[in-house]
């Protein structure tokens, strides 16, 4: 495993182009495009203000840079460096900007969710979609880029509009049986739309592409409900994480629950492997204060850590949430299927330092990764069943069915991994610190061995 040198970035804006050739990073108001293999700067663009959002077009030809404060979007072309495009939303404001799947349209959501403006780069045409709903996930494109589902709110009722992305033709428009729609997501095959209600009510609705209601699922009433929803890449399973610290798996034929994964603080499952991260500090004089050691350890990165396998039963640290505060830190907030749909990684918010890996074939707990600090981010390798995670310290953690490993990022100056992204080939991992980034190259040969 190799690491590149450290580059600057800001706002953790750093993305690899969809074709995997280029790496775009934002540094303040500048956009830097590098070659992924050589890390040489190919292009350098200067925006009008500090960039708050950056995105690649699907064909890896254009980069969108949004400056929400100024209500501005600037688009840069990789092929034609002198080509430029500037979209000004004016005084109506801008809160979100994204590419349409064809890479020729930009969808801007205005402030107060007044409307969604669709700008065409081909014809300069502008079209508006009114009444978009301000919610967790109000817009979703199907994976083939044909359709867009948009959550709407009209007359205190929730609606879903399905657009054909090709010419923004409204294909379907239907009312949903939700109290307060919180999000929607297309299945990977683009045929089923999952719609879920806000956390006040546990309700998941499944609509066909043509607007028919396929099924409704509700696990319980009254207490806080759905917290996260994820489709498996095979479209076979729908995983629903909720505030009751459980994940429920629905199947794609009957849309009934086929499994329920509970996140229990005491792990008694003998078949699950519990990896516990143990920190080891290098030997220091016994007269040194432990506190001093700790600060040195975190600042000078001389702590070593390794995983130990704990025999069950294992007690997982649990933080009891404050019941008086809104959005309690409890329940399954993050769900991620591995690319082969074989594994599911979950994180329960009141057990922030633990990542759970479930086997989707046996429908049982496979591994538990107990970290020393709260898990910030985890992501599956797009090619292999390999999970990368970071906890905001100087280490990178990897889990695969073969085992678990923690790697010290060998950089100077305190590189704390806040977030990470896999390169689409699965060979490279982009590690993002507070204002730095670093590439981690997986040793593929060794992995194969």
């Amino acid at each position: 495993m190799n690491f590149s040198e450290v580059f600057k970035q800001s706002n953790q804006l750093c993305k690899v182009s969809p074709d995997g050739k280029y790496l775009a990073t934002c540094v303040q108001y500048r956009l830097v495009v590098r070659d992924v293999s050589t890390l040489q700067i190919l292009q350098l663009y200067t925006c009008l203000d500090q960039i708050s959002h950056m995105d690649w077009s699907s064909d890896s030809l254009f980069i969108l840079c949004a400056m929400y404060k100024r209500g501005l979007v600037q688009v840069w072309s990789l092929e034609q460096p002198d080509w430029h495009c500037k979209i000004d939303e004016g005084s109506i404001g801008l809160v979100s900007s994204r590419w349409s799947p064809d890479g020729r349209h930009i969808l801007n959501t205005t402030e107060f969710h007044l409307r969604v403006t669709v700008w065409s780069l081909c014809t300069k045409a502008v079209s508006y979609i009114k009444y978009p709903k301000a919610c967790q996930k109000g817009i979703d494109f199907s994976r083939d880029g044909c359709y867009m589902a948009l959550a709407e709110r009209r007359d205190c009722k929730d609606y879903v509009s399905v657009f054909v992305c090709d010419d923004w033709h409204l294909l379907r428009h239907f009312e949903t049986e939700t109290q307060d729609l919180a999000g929607l997501e297309w299945s990977p095959n683009g045929c089923v739309l999952a719609v879920w209600d806000s956390c006040l009510e546990y309700k998941v609705l499944l609509y066909s592409l043509d607007g028919r209601l396929l099924s409704t699922y509700s696990a319980y009433e009254w207490s806080l409900g759905v917290k996260s929803v994820t489709w498996s890449p095979s479209s076979q399973f729908l995983a629903i994480g909720s505030y009751d610290e459980k994940v429920r798996i629905l199947n794609h034929i009957t849309w009934k629950k086929i499994a329920q994964f509970e996140h229990i603080a005491t792990i008694n499952n003998t078949k699950a492997v519990v990896y516990k991260e143990v920190e080891k500090r290098p030997a220091v004089g016994s007269d040194d204060l432990s506190l001093h050691n700790l600060t040195i350890g975190t600042t000078l990165f001389n702590t070593q850590s390794k995983y130990e396998i704990c025999p069950p039963p294992v007690q997982v640290p649990v933080v009891k949430p404050d019941p008086d505060r809104a959005n309690p830190k409890i329940g399954v907030s993050t769900l991620a299927f591995s690319s082969d749909s074989r594994y599911l990684a979950t994180k329960n918010d009141n057990m922030a330092s633990v990542v759970w890996v479930w086997d989707m074939q046996k429908m049982s707990l496979l591994a538990v990764l107990e970290q020393t600090s709260a898990v910030r981010c985890f992501q599956w390798d797009p090619r292999r069943p390999r999970l990368a995670l970071c906890t905001g310290n100087t280490k990178l953690y990897l889990w695969s069915p073969a085992g678990c490993v923690s790697v010290q990022v060998p950089t100077e100056g305190g590189f704390q991994v806040q977030s990470l992204n896999w390169h689409c080939s699965g060979d490279t991992l982009i590690l993002l610190g507070k204002d730095q980034l670093c590439l981690c190259y997986m040793d593929t040969d060794q992995e194969d061995k």
């Binding site: 005084s91 009444y131 205190c156 010419d167």
Partner: protein
């Protein structure tokens, strides 16, 4: 004082003669009453004075007689002579009575003391018990009070519960009403918000100074390189078509997957069914009873089974599927029942009762335990008795041994007897020879005697003839000569008799047939003369024969036994044969 003495009196009487107690006091009392004035009069003075001696005497007499004592004074013709002896006796009696009375009094006092102490004790205990009663009563009341309090508490709690429930209901209602109110408010706010948004939108659109704008250097082509199309109904239809196409393709894909899965499952099902059929058919002979139970179903299912097995996986029609599933279900049920039966059998065979009792309650379990213990005891007893029997059996073995030994002895004896027999036989032969010799000798003797008799007769005849006048007859002459010759000869033969006796065997061939009847008679007479004991002779051979018979019997006894044994063996072999036959059958 007399009063007191009188007072004491009755109990005395009572003590002395308990049965007469009813009649006695009345005359006494009468008397005492009658004599009371008298007593009163004499209270101050002495009892007896010169004047009232007679009176006193009669009184005393009366008193004494009332006490059942002989009278002191006899009124005999007015003579007031006192019988001193009687008086003394009476006095003695009285003193005795008095003593006895005192003793009984003492006893009574002791008794009284005892009883009083008893009474005290009883009173004490009664007071204690009363106290206890009081205490328990108090406790009871306390408990009752507590119960009452608890009941009150329960009531209050129930009330509380009721209240809580009501409260809950109320709160729920409140929540519901608040929720509806909140929803209403939300809607209102949302509407207002929407209005505001609308207004804002309008305002922003209307405002010209800072308009939304796109500034593009030059338009770029579409990603697919095509030109954008006009929105027409045609495009709409195309979109619809596209949508349905994707949906259809998805359904198609899913159906294909399901088909594949179904086919695989059906394959598994077929496999299972085949296995099941094979298993069921293999165990059929052993399950005849079951077969009989659901014979008709079996028959139906049999057909179905083979029908469905003929049906290929490719047949997807509902009917076939139903049949298949039905047959599978049926077979599965049968298999299940079979397995269950097997399980039952196993459990019955292996663990049996104990396992069964496990399922049953504790009592039966214990009962079973007791029973088993008893059984164990019985078994132990059995074992002991068996031991004893074995020991006893070992002694018969000794007997057998002894019999064997005796057999040995018998054999020895037999040997001995045989030897003896042999010697005896030899002796017998010798005796026989001797007897023959003797008989021959006797025959010869009788011959000689006859000859001698003849000689004598002829001689006497001759003599007679010589004396008679018929002397010139020729015959006697002849005979005489003959006899003379004979006499001489007999003399000579008599002289040479011992020689003849020995030589005779060769000569006696001719005369013996003639004199056999004679000799046979004479031999019996001869024996005693020859000092031969006929009893011995007769018994000895008898004994021998007997012995022989015995031995033969003995042999006879042995032979059947052997035969029997052999028979037994044969039977055994035949048995085994038959057995083998049966087993082979």
């Amino acid at each position: 004082m007399p009063e007191s003495s009188l007072d004491i009196f009755p109990p005395k009487v009572k003590d002395i003669c308990g049965s007469s107690i009813e009649c006695r006091p009345s005359p006494l009392r009468q008397f005492s009453q009658s004599s009371l004035p008298l007593h009163r009069n004499n209270m101050l003075s002495t009892f007896c004075t010169e004047e009232n001696v007679q009176e006193c005497l009669s009184h005393i007499n009366q008193e004494v007689s009332s006490l059942g004592l002989p009278p002191v004074w006899m009124e005999s013709g007015g003579s007031s002579e006192m019988n001193v002896v009687a008086v003394l006796n009476c006095m003695y009696e009285l003193i005795q009575l008095h003593h006895r009375g005192l003793r009984t009094l003492e006893n009574m006092e002791v008794e009284q003391l005892k009883s009083s102490s008893n009474v005290d004790y009883l009173q004490l205990t009664s007071t204690q018990l009363k106290e206890q009663l009081e205490l328990s009563k108090r406790e009871n009341t306390g408990l009752l009070e507590r119960e009452r309090q608890l009941q009150l508490k329960v009531k209050s709690l129930q009330n509380c519960l009721k209240n809580e429930k009501e409260e809950l209901q109320k709160l729920q209602n409140i929540i519901a009403s608040r929720a509806s109110q909140y929803n209403h408010e939300m809607k209102r706010k949302e509407r207002e918000f929407n209005k505001l948004r609308e207004r804002l939108n309008q305002l922003l659109v209307d405002k010209k100074e800072k308009k939304q704008a796109i500034d593009v250097l030059n338009n770029i082509g579409r990603a697919d390189g095509k030109r954008s199309l006009w929105k027409t109904e045609k495009t709409e239809a195309k979109h619809e078509g596209m949508m349905y196409k994707t949906l259809l393709s998805d359904y198609d894909l899913r159906q294909r997957e399901l088909l594949l899965e179904n086919a695989e499952l059906k394959k598994v099902l077929q496999q299972m069914k085949k296995d099941m059929v094979s298993i069921l058919s293999s165990k059929k002979p052993t399950l005849k009873d079951n077969q009989q139970q659901d014979d008709d179903i079996q028959a139906d299912s049999e057909e179905e089974v083979f029908d469905s097995s003929k049906e290929s996986v490719e047949l997807y029609c509902v009917h076939a599927r139903e049949k298949l599933t039905n047959s599978i279900r049926l077979q599965w049920r049968r298999l299940k029942s079979h397995v269950e039966r097997l399980d039952n059998q196993v459990s019955l065979a292996q663990i049996g009762r104990s396992k069964n009792t496990d399922a049953v309650s504790q009592e039966t379990h214990e009962e079973e335990m007791d029973r088993l213990k008893l059984e164990i005891q019985q078994c132990k007893d059995f074992i002991q008795t068996q031991h004893q029997l074995l020991q006893q059996l070992s002694s018969p073995y000794d007997e057998e041994k002894s019999s064997l030994l005796s057999d040995c002895y018998m054999l020895q004896e037999k040997e001995r007897f045989r030897d003896e027999w042999k010697t005896l036989e030899e002796q017998r032969k010798i005796f026989e020879r001797e007897r023959r010799n003797f008989t021959e000798a006797a025959i010869r003797l009788s011959h000689e005697r006859k000859a001698f008799e003849d000689d004598r007769a002829t001689w006497l005849k001759h003599q007679f003839l010589n004396l008679s006048p018929f002397a010139d007859s020729k015959k006697p002459q002849m005979s005489k000569s003959k006899s003379a010759f004979l006499i001489s000869k007999t003399e000579a033969s008599a002289a040479s008799a011992p020689e003849n006796l020995i030589k005779r065997p060769s000569d006696t061939t001719s005369p013996t047939p003639r004199c056999v009847p004679l000799t046979s008679q004479s031999t019996a007479e001869l024996y005693p003369t020859l000092c031969l004991v006929p009893e011995n002779r007769s018994t000895k051979p008898k004994r021998l024969t007997e012995h022989v018979e015995e031995s033969s019997i003995f042999l006879n006894g042995n032979v059947p036994v052997q035969h029997k044994q052999w028979n037994g063996r044969e039977e055994h072999s035949s048995h085994t044969l038959t057995k083998e036959k049966t087993s082979s059958i």
